[in-house]
């Protein structure tokens, strides 16, 4: 029993650690890849805010799938779920409305 538990603790810590290492190395490899493309400004544009914030949990849906009014409701729903700041909410909504 005890050895089993120890093995488990081991597997769990190891998989946690592996995840962390994976994430850190992916982040590092991503930021070096992105460095070349990035412009000087740190400010993200609306489409970058949309792509980076709305693909975290599920695939991005095309702006054309909903009407302006429907997007207003969906984005308000996502503001809470996805912890958007009011500014992100406004920019994303504007982008979705312009693109549908």
């Amino acid at each position: 029993m005890n050895t089993k538990r120890n093995t488990t603790r081991w597997i769990v810590s190891l998989s946690g650690l592996m995840m962390l290492i994976l994430v850190i190395s992916l982040t590092a490899c991503q930021s070096t890849a992105a460095d070349g493309e990035m412009d000087d400004s740190d400010e993200m544009g609306a489409s970058e805010i949309w792509e980076r914030n709305c693909a975290r949990c599920h695939n991005i849906r095309s702006p054309s799938t909903l009407s302006d009014k429907q997007w207003e409701t969906a984005v308000m729903h996502m503001r809470v779920r996805a912890n958007l700041t009011p500014k992100e909410q406004r920019l994303i909504l504007e982008l979705l409305k312009a693109g549908n």
């Binding site: 962390l20 991503q30 429907q70 308000m76 729903h77 779920r81």
Partner: protein, 425 residues
Amino acid sequence: MIPAILMIVVFTGSFARAQDSVSREEFDALKASYENLLSRFNNMSTDFDALKEEGSTSELREELEELIEEIEQVDLKAIAGRPGTTGFLAAGFATTGFVDFDDNDSTFGASFTPVFLWKFTDNLMVEAELDLSLGDGTTEVELEYIQILYTVNDYVTVGAGKFLTPFGMFWERLHPSWINKLPDAPLSMRHTGLVPPTTVGVQVRGVIPIDSMKLNYAFFVGNGPSLATEDLDHLGNLEYENFIDNNGNKAFGGRLGFQPFPELEIGYSAYFAKVGSSGSEFRNVDATLHGPYLAYVSPIPALAGSIDVRFEWTWSDVDDASYDLGGTVTPPIVFDNRRSGGYAQVAYRPSLSGVSFLEDLEFVFRFDRIDNAAGHPDAIDRNGYTVGLNYWLEPNSVVKLAFRFDDPEGGEKNDGLMIQWTVGF
């Protein structure tokens, strides 16, 4: 000489005049016909002007009237169909599938999970989700959540009702079948698992931007779980369908999440509750749950695709108690009621490979585990290794094929094949 010249001039002049001149009669006749023509022309041109004027204005007027009538009708229709200020969206998901596990006959299944959203103002909304699934000879309906949300200011939103517990990330962010990358939930996240799927109560939540980073928080109070004291299989487990509180003590907890950049979130959740029914010998039993989570989702050009990494672990510690199952067991069962469990999942989708078939495929691997209380009479620790292959028909529709390799520490193995087709809307 002079008279001769004059003669010549007069002669030639009169000769010339004799050539050009018309008689009075001829002149009068010509004049008359000219005047006749002139008056006819004048008449014609007035007729023409009148005709022109009359014709075009009446046509124009007709067209204008038609147009006005059309506009009035469109206007009426527009007024009749005026959307009102309330925004409404019917969303949700449909799930169909086939499962074949060792411990049960294979079966097809289907469920329908509508989500209704109302946005009343920029601050006030209501969200509701029903879960309609097929039971044994019946259709089961569950009120998965119903929450009124009010945004107090840029940093604070208050929610009340039955809501997905802001503890970890699975229930609130990943449980819909069109989002979950595997057909089933990890062991710790099942309805009989470690984490409370929903809470009936009140929550306060929000997000605080720090430069380009974000800190999100959620705190809640609710009915909390009840303690299973009668059923040997689940003895000492927390039961979350405690919709009408079994005691006056409320559970409380919260979650803090940190996002250094949008693709990464690391967080921790905690939950405290008194779980025994009031008046019972278990009334002082306390439970504590806590655990970390991590999510990293990003396209990685070097891997020609996007990667989705998730890790979530929960520890549950319930005060020891002695369970005699209503006096039927002597001596009473006593055990160290500590449990834990969670999952680690990695998914890879070659979305940047440039090959359209590959771009829609996704490979998933998940390790999940539940570590039950040592000394519990009927609890087996379990590991699971699930591999999945998904094909995305649309961004909101996926066909999943997965195989779960069960690894119980004692007892029977329960491997299984799962196929699922889902659409989110």
